[in-house]
Amino acid sequence: MDRIIRFAGVTKRYETEDRVVAIDSVDLEISRGERVAIMGPSGSGKSTLLNLISGLDEPTSGTVFFEDRALSEMNDNELTLMRRKKIGLIFQTFNLLPTLTATENVSLPLRLDGMRRRTANARAVELLTRVGLNERLTHRPDELSGGERQRIAIARSLVFNPPVLLADEPTGNLDSHTGADIIELLDKLHDEFQTTVVLVTHNSSAAEHCERRFTMLDGKIVSSNE
């Protein structure tokens, strides 16, 4: 199968007083279209792993490859453009810009890319409709519920139809019912676009939706369902 993400002996250390090893010589391959769930206790390195994939963080040693290109060879602009177009990011705390409306939040990455406002907004409305928020187009984040905000975040992550979606506890701040809706939405989107999904979650029923499941502990992948 076509490999999209590869970790080769990746270690991430934080040089704090007690020298935390957040990721400890991890080797990992993720194929295009695959769904991967990462579980593990708090502080085991899950978020760090996602940050390394998206280039928000750099490994202390080892190499991260995205579409067979080493991230360490890319400059900041290339990394940014990769994030903009190839990776959708979804966070536990939604991370929407509070001053922008739902449509504006979703169309922002397109407009950063130079797309005209009208076109970008039309595309944003299309995606918001797909996530079921066509009634909330001009609301600002603080006027919306947690579930609705996460849908906006998902819509935003999909504007470029990216091959990879990285979701860090997307249901962590939501009640179980809303959380289940969000997971269902991700399922639907995966079926539609064959997006690669890396899902960090504490919720094992959410993890059940993924073909591959890892557990992390102290920066190492300690078990998988393979």
Binding site: L56, R84, L108
Partner: protein, 852 residues
């Protein structure tokens, strides 16, 4: 403050060092300006007084009659008056030196042959190193200088000194050196003593005295003696206590004080904005922390105290730094002020450096702290009223900042309109203290309207910046509009700073335009000769013979001969100009604003009427046909007012009389200006040279009509030299406010910027956004600043100029400064946003979007 809260505060400080430094800097600037202004005012007054006192020596009374002096016979009358123990004649001349070059030397003509008891501190035995008093007095070229002056130019006994005198350059011989104390201390030691007879003849004062210093005998009280002397002497000769002469000078410089005081309040207002800004920002940075503190049991009072204690501590540190800075600022200001004082009021300040007044220092610290508390009050209150649940719920659920408030807008518009109407329609005589409130009304109203202006501004700027700069422009405008509190205080600081600049530029330009217009009407002459390049020509005068030689030139068609002096009218020093009225009217046919030209001319020429300036008419409530009484050294002159016109020489007012009348009453034939009209077709350059050749040996400044106007315009610039300094400070303070905001805007929005970067915003897009936000704030600040500036200029023109000097001038829109301020503001905005933008671009994304 409780130690737990102290810990929290200290931790905050160590994390936000930049915000703290900028806040402290803001306070320091406000306090520095305040302290410097008070110190400068005080130093100026002290130094004027000490000059007078030192010149007076031990005298208890002084007899004087203004610049042109009085007849020497007065001395006899004084000495014969009962109760006079000692009476010493004095002449005072400020001479220009030729060798060493270009120094101004105050030359006291004293009766060196007497024992100079009144000046014994100056010439203490053994100190007045006149080896041979007889030789000193018997030789007319003898001069004694201060030790300081002698040292500065390495002069010894027997060395020579060249001075400009009435009859050309003359060489004097140093035959004595005296201590640089008492009189020797004033004027930075540039003081010399000559024998009075020699001084009189060298400086055209033969038969005249400038002053008599008097000491009363033990049995007659000073006041009684003063009364006795007054009854003996003509009204034009004044008998005063030396310290009252200082009072008169203080009065003369009052308009300058007024300007300085406005400046110090301006600085404090901007200071309030900066502190308010800083604390609002601190509140924004800490709202979550405060929510948690409230949730774990800190009460409202505790939060409030935490903020206010911080304000006090910052206030103390800022004020102390401010005083240090204020001392430096005062040094510069004093130099500028002394120069202005000497040029415009002919008053000499002693070069004595100021001493730090501890009361002022304490006051300044007090004001600094009070300002900090005042400015921190609202944010502190807001912090203490924060609802803990809000802070603890989701990160995006921010407490909504206040929106547009209709009532606020109505009140704001009300204040602005009320202020403007009051400026327009209230009586001028109501007094500056009350009129200041009109100005405050307008400013206050504009501040209330700021949120509205920001809302409007963002509506206008959003599409414009969007078109020009794309999405970064739009986000920049939105971020600005989304945080009205932060934006309001920055725009406010910019607005006040810029309005000050615009207002004063408008004021200065209006004055120049008025002066230009007035000079066109009142100075029709083709050529102007002046004995001085300063306004108050105390240094040097032409002789009448010179004027006659010029009048005799074949090209000259009309010659007006003018001397300038001063008279006292209603307790104020009014400028008195004597003209050859016939020539004056010929040269300036359009002279009068009020009065029938033909009869006015006839009356003036025959010495049967006086002309006055419009500002004197306004200030002294004089109308056409009123009779004014002018005290001269030989008696009182009473004349009807036959004409009035705009004339800006003196803030107190000007009277014009015919030269023959002046010569008769003042016994003074010295000449300060000569106006010449020449035959049509005369070559200006050639004739100018011809004038120079005719008056060879005299110190003279020859101007064509245009050159003279340019000179007068430069004089206005000099008068406002201090204002230009103030403008620079205003811009500086506003820039600090802007830097403060941008730094904080970035640190506050770290998370947002992190998200922006995470979803694909490039570094340069982030930097661009931050820069554009500053530009947007700058543009709104500029817009509101120009509006407020025009309102303030309207106030200055209608109120300040009118009340302080009685000048009626029309407001001129300061196009050039306004246009210049656009790139200036943009540059300041870009500059102050540069480092914040750079930092924003380098933000560590993973950390910035971390959960806390």
């Amino acid at each position: 403050m409780n130690s737990g809260l102290k810990l929290v505060t200290l931790r905050q400080w160590s994390r936000h060092k930049l915000r703290l430094s900028l806040t402290v800097l803001g306070i320091a600037l406000g306090v520095a300006v305040f302290f410097a202004v008070r110190t400068t005012n005080r130093t100026l007054v002290d130094s004027l007084n000490s000059t007078i006192e030192k010149l007076a020596g031990k005298a208890t009374l002084q007899i004087a009659a203004g610049d042109e002096g009085f007849p020497v016979d007065v001395l006899k009358t004084v000495r014969a008056t009962h109760g006079v123990e000692l009476a010493e004649p004095v002449t005072e001349t400020i001479a220009n030196t030729v060798e060493p070059a270009n120094e101004k030397l105050l030359i006291l003509g004293l009766d060196v042959g007497s024992d100079l008891k009144l000046y014994s501190d100056l010439f203490e035995e053994g100190d007045m190193a006149i080896k041979n008093p007889l030789a000193f007095t018997s030789r007319a070229d003898s001069i004694a200088v201060t030790r300081k002056f002698a040292d500065r130019f390495s002069l010894k006994d027997g060395d020579t000194l060249r001075l400009q005198t009435l009859t050309g350059e003359k060489t004097f011989t140093v035959r004595g050196v005296f201590r640089s104390e008492g009189s020797g201390e004033i004027f930075d030691g540039n003081v010399a003593v000559m024998d009075i007879a020699a001084a009189q003849s060298a400086f055209g004062k033969t038969g005249k005295l400038d002053r008599i210093d008097v000491m009363n005998s033990a049995d007659v009280p000073t006041d009684e003696l003063a009364a006795g002397l007054r009854s003996q002497l003509p009204a034009g000769i004044k008998v005063v206590r030396p310290n009252l002469r200082g009072q008169a000078l203080e009065n003369a410089v009052s308009s300058m004080h007024f300007g300085l005081t406005i400046m110090s309040f301006l600085a404090l207002t901007i200071c309030i904005f900066i502190i308010f800004n800083s604390f609002s920002i601190s509140l924004n940075q800490r709202w979550k922390e405060i929510g948690i503190l409230r949730a774990i049991g800190v009460d409202r009072g505790g939060i409030m105290r935490m903020f206010l204690t911080e304000a006090v501590v910052l206030g103390v540190i800022g004020s102390l730094l401010g005083i240090a800075g204020g001392v430096g600022l005062a040094r510069v200001a004093i130099i500028v002020v002394s120069r202005v004082t000497a040029t415009f009021y002919g008053a000499i300040t002693s070069g004595k450096a100021f001493s730090i007044d501890y009361v002022f220092a304490l006051e300044a610290v007090g004001i600094g702290i009070a300002t900090s508390i005042l400015a921190a009050w609202l944010p502190a209150r807001a912090a203490s009223h924060l609802r803990p649940v809000l802070a603890l719920t989701n990160i995006e659920t921010r407490q909504k900042e206040y929106g547009l408030n209709k009532i606020r807008i109505i009140i704001g518009v009300g204040f602005v309109i009320a202020g403007l109407l009051l400026v327009r329609y209230s009586r001028a005589g109501i007094g500056m203290n009350i009129q200041m409130f009109y100005f405050v009304f307008v400013q206050f109203g504009m501040i209330l309207l700021l949120p509205m202006f920001i809302r409007l501004g963002s509506k206008v700027l959003r599409p414009v910046l969007g078109k020009l700069f794309g999405i970064e422009g739009i986000i920049a405008v939105e971020t600005m509009a989304a945080a009205p509190r932060r934006t309001v205080s920055t725009v406010g600081a910019l607005m006040i700073g810029l309005s000050f600049v615009i207002a004063h530029a408008g004021f200065i330009q209006s004055q120049k335009a008025a002066l230009d217009h007035s000079l066109d009407k009142t100075l029709g002459a083709d050529f102007v000769l002046s004995s001085s390049n300063q306004l108050n020509a105390r240094t040097y005068h032409f002789s009448e013979a010179t004027a006659e030689r010029l009048a005799a030139l074949p090209e000259a068609t009309a010659t007006d001969v003018i001397s300038v002096s001063a008279v006292e009218l209603g307790g104020e020093e009014i400028s008195l100009m004597s003209h050859k009225m016939d020539a004056y009217f010929t040269m300036s046919p359009d002279l009068l604003d009020y009065g029938d030209p033909a009869p006015a001319r006839a009356a003036a020429v025959h010495g049967e009427g006086a002309l006055i300036s419009n500002n004197l008419s306004f200030r002294a409530n004089l109308k056409l046909g009123d009779r004014i009484r002018i005290d001269s050294p030989t008696g009182t002159l009473e004349l009807p007012i036959v004409g009035m016109f705009d004339y800006f020489r003196s803030e107190k007012g000007t009277i014009f009389i015919d030269r023959e009348l002046y010569k008769k009453y003042w016994n003074d034939s010295r000449v300060d200006y000569v106006f010449l009209n020449v035959k049509p077709g005369t070559d200006r350059g050639v004739f100018k040279q011809k004038i120079q050749d005719t008056i060879v040996g005299e110190q003279a400044f020859v101007y064509t009509h245009e050159e003279f106007k340019a000179w007068a315009s430069r004089l206005i610039d000099q008068f406002f030299a201090l204002t230009y300094l103030q403008m620079v400070i205003a811009i500086l303070v506003a820039a600090i406010g802007l830097v403060n905001t941008m730094v904080i805007s970035v640190s506050e929005r770290r998370r947002e910027l992190g998200i922006f970067r995470a979803i694909g915003g490039l570094r340069r897009q982030v930097a661009k956004m931050v820069m554009l936000e500053a530009v947007a704030i700058g543009l709104i600040g500029l817009f509101t600043g120009v509006i407020t500036g025009l309102f303030s200029a309207y106030f200055l023109v209608n109120t300040a100029a009118k009340v302080v000097a009685g000048f009626t001038i029309n407001l001129v829109f300061p196009y050039s400064i306004t246009l210049m301020s656009i790139p200036l503001v943009l540059a300041v905005a870009a500059l102050s946003a540069f480092f914040p933008a750079f930092n924003a671009a380098r933000i560590r994304i993973a950390e910035a979007i971390g959960y806390e």
